[in-house]
Each structure stands twice: as structure tokens, then as C-alpha cells.
């Protein structure tokens, strides 16, 4: 007899548990405004939220006079675990006649970058930063290899 009561209890409990689940899904069914999806391609210019720190790609900021801070010391190239960065430096003659190493091309392969931030960390001049850009895909793999310093850009000397 006790077994029978227990059995009926179990069945009732089972049905109760199932109905609780059904109620939960019904609750979400009738409340569409609680939904969480983002209308992504439509909101790319309006409501999309990209945090400030989001690491999308490495950039070499230039100031208004087209000057950057990179001294071509290649510390970032050495710090990169993936061989993403290639620094091509050129030797030019300075005003005082001394030979000087300057940056020629800051080659960055976005396709190999894992956004670990080691290069930014290693840079003694704070010349490079991470930018929160997104939608960086391209049709041609060669387009992922970028030269970060703008043509004609120069080294920004320290003020001090």
C-alpha cells in the first residue's frame, strides 16, 4: 500500500516537474520583449556596443603632423609569439651627419595575430596600441598584411 502511495506521489511529482518547465518556456514565449538577440548587421552603426579596451587590431597612432613614435627598435617583433610583426628599418643620414636607424615599414599580419598584447606591452615608446575596430575580414588573404606607418610619416621626437 505504501508503495502504491509512493508510486502515485512519484507520478504526480513527475507531472508537476514537467509542468514547471512548460510554464517557464511559456513565460518566455509570451514575453518577446525579454528576448536577447541583437540585430547585428542593422545595428553596426547605431546601438552596437564595442568596449573601449576590445582588442581588434594593432595600430600605430599618428599625430596630426603625420608623426609616430616608433623608433624601429624591434622589441615588439621579438615579443610576438606568432611572427606577426616585421619591422623593416632604413638607415638615413641625420642633420648632424650621423647615421640613424629609422622605421621604414611596420608590417603587420592581421591574419596571424592572436591579440595577446605582447607587442604593446613590450614597446618602450608606447608607439603601438590596440584598437577596438571590428569587421576586419577581407576577401584576399594578402590584404591582411598591412603596413601600419603611413607614407611619409616621421618619428616624433621626445619633447624633453
Amino acid at each position: 500500500m505504501r508503495a502504491l502511495i509512493q508510486y502515485i506521489k512519484d507520478v504526480a511529482q513527475g507531472f508537476y516537474s514537467l509542468s514547471q518547465g512548460l510554464l517557464l518556456t511559456l513565460k518566455y514565449f509570451v514575453r518577446p520583449w525579454k528576448h536577447i538577440v541583437e540585430q547585428y548587421p542593422e545595428n553596426r552603426t547605431t546601438t552596437i556596443y564595442i568596449p573601449e579596451k576590445f582588442a581588434g587590431e594593432v595600430v600605430l597612432p599618428h599625430d596630426e603632423n603625420n608623426r609616430h613614435k616608433c623608433t624601429a627598435c624591434t622589441l615588439c617583433e621579438m615579443a610576438c609569439p606568432n611572427g606577426t610583426i616585421k619591422i623593416i628599418s632604413a638607415t638615413i643620414e641625420g642633420e648632424d651627419g650621423k647615421k640613424k636607424k629609422v622605421l621604414d615599414k611596420w608590417v603587420y599580419n592581421l591574419g596571424m595575430c592572436t591579440m595577446c598584447g605582447q607587442c604593446v606591452d613590450a614597446c618602450p615608446q608606447d608607439a603601438i596600441t590596440m584598437k577596438n575596430s571590428f569587421e576586419l575580414s577581407v576577401y584576399n588573404r594578402n590584404d591582411l598584411i598591412k603596413v601600419l606607418n603611413k607614407p611619409g610619416s616621421k618619428l616624433k621626437e621626445k619633447e624633453s
Partner: protein, 361 residues
Amino acid sequence: MTLTIQFSDITKWIHETLNASMSPGWALFSEFVLAGVAMILLVVVLAVLFVYMERKVAGFMQLRLGPHRVGPWGTMQVFADVFKLLLKESFAPFTVDKFLFNFAPILVLAVAFMAMAPISFAPGLQLWDMNIGILYVTAVSSIGVIGILMAGWSSNNKYSLLGAMRSGAQIVSYELSAGLSLVAVIAMCGSLSISDIIASQADGWWIFKGHLPIMFAFVVYVIAGTAETNRAPFDLAEAESELTAGYHTEFSGMQFGMFYLTEYINMAVISMVATTVFLGGWLPFHIYGFDAFNNVMNFIPSWIWFFGKTFFIIFLMMWFRWTFPRLRIDQLLKLEWKYLLPLSIINVVIVAFLVVMGWHF
């Protein structure tokens, strides 16, 4: 009071015009063709609606929006999918049994269409009011499992075979309790004909008449019907996380589309039978003594009543699907053979006793 044209008038008019213009034999043939085309169109439109509904229901229950890009609110999405399936190659692997492989989806679909024949959508809108309507539906819909077994066997794929065997075991067992729960109502009203069953509910739907055994039979029928259509939580035949896609793993293009369509047509058949037998078919909802309310209910056309009830039961099945986890195969069979079937048999015995004693109304 009613301004609506009765469907029987339309059919009568068609019959008379055809007979006036051609010989009776040709007229009959044209009527068959017309009826067939109308039925196929109706079923396809219904299936498309169900697919759209399923996606929306699933989306809303999962905090999503469902399809919403193709057409307004995504209404064209289903058509886009159907056209995609139509344009795709129906690829058959090298080692399949070609004849069975190609025949299986056609058989499954044809059987699903056949089961629609005796169903009465509205007064007069019925293809064939045969005197064994319910028996015909249950009999025909059980042929579908042969198609599934054929698909699984001919695919020459172990997943397909396992899915087909599961499906066979499942459908064969769950048909028993589905049939027995229908027997409860049939015993009460004393007829297998669908129009008789509907007529017997003119003074109240069976489920609201207050017979406990009938209510129980309704619950059993919904459970068994869900299982018969291979839908979650009984979707073991195509259990995605276990057998990838079960019996239709190897099918592609429109052949897959046929299986997909069949699932929804089978759902429609199950819910239409449930509507007819338990929920009063196309009869409106009446409350005894409330004449004003009853008149308002009468004003709603009967086909809206019928499809409204059908959609409600289909919503129930979708609701189950998007809430519950799947059963294991032994639990599935245990549920049928150890719980539903004995209870259904006892239920039928009680109903028979009630009928013999004349205690029903």
C-alpha cells in the same frame, strides 16, 4: 442569420455544373482531380504554416525572434527554404538500394496525404465521409513506418538503420495506446464515422462532457500522438545528438524535404483527429444556458473553429518539443508498455462498462 455560404453548396454547384457539361464518368474523374489538387494544396499550405509556426514558437521560447529577414516577419523564409530544397540535387550515395531509397520518401508522403481523406474540416467540407473514418485514419497512418524502415534500411548507413529500428519499435508500440484512447470515444458515441462523432458532440465536446475516462484518453492520445510523429521528447528516430539525423541521414534535396514535410503533415493528421474526436471538430464552443455567448460563438465560421483547435494541439506539441529533454529508448518503450498501455486498457474497460450500463450522456 448566417450569411456565409455553406461549403456543401459550393460542392453541389461544382457537381451540377460538371455533370451538365460532360458525361457522368468524366465529371466524376474531374471531381477526383479537383478534390485531389485541392487537398494537396491545403495540406502543403498547412505544412508551410506549421513550419513557420514551429520556427517562431521555438524562437520565442528560446529568447530569439525566429526567422525575420526574408519577407515581413520572415514569412517568406519557409518558401525560400522549399525553393532551396527543390533546386538542390537529390544526392544518393553509391552503395544505397536505389529503388527503396527513392521510393521511401514518396511512400511516406503519400501515406500522410491519404490519412487526410476522411477528415471533416467544416460542415460539408469533407473528401470522403466513410463509415469507418477513424479506423481508416489509424490504419493508413501506420503504413508510414514502413517508409521510414525502408529509408533506414536502404541508406546502407548504421545511423540510419538504428534510427529506423528505433522508429519502428516506437511507432508500432505507441499506436496501441493511441488507438485505445480513440476507442474510448468511439464506444461512447457508437460510431466510427467522423461525421457521426462530430454530431455526437453537438451538445458538448467530449472532453468537456465530464467523463473522466475521456479526459484521460485525451492526455494519452496527445502523448502517443507526439510519439507517433517522432517528435521531441520522443524524437529518438532522428535523435540529433545520438544518431546525427537518424533515418534520413543520407537524404538530401527534396527527398529530405519530403521527410521534413511529412513530419508536419503527420502532426496535422494527429491534431485533426484529436480535434475531431475530443474537441468537437468544427463545432463552436458552447456553454449551456448562455444564449448570447453561444450566438457569438456561432457567428465564428466553423472552419476557423476547426483550424483553431488544430493549431492549439499543434502548439501543445511544439511546446513539449522545445521544453523537454529526450527519453532513452528503453524508457520510451517502458513508458508505453508498462504505463500507458495497461492504463489505456483499464480505461477502455471502464468506458465499456459505462456504455453497457448506459451511464454516459
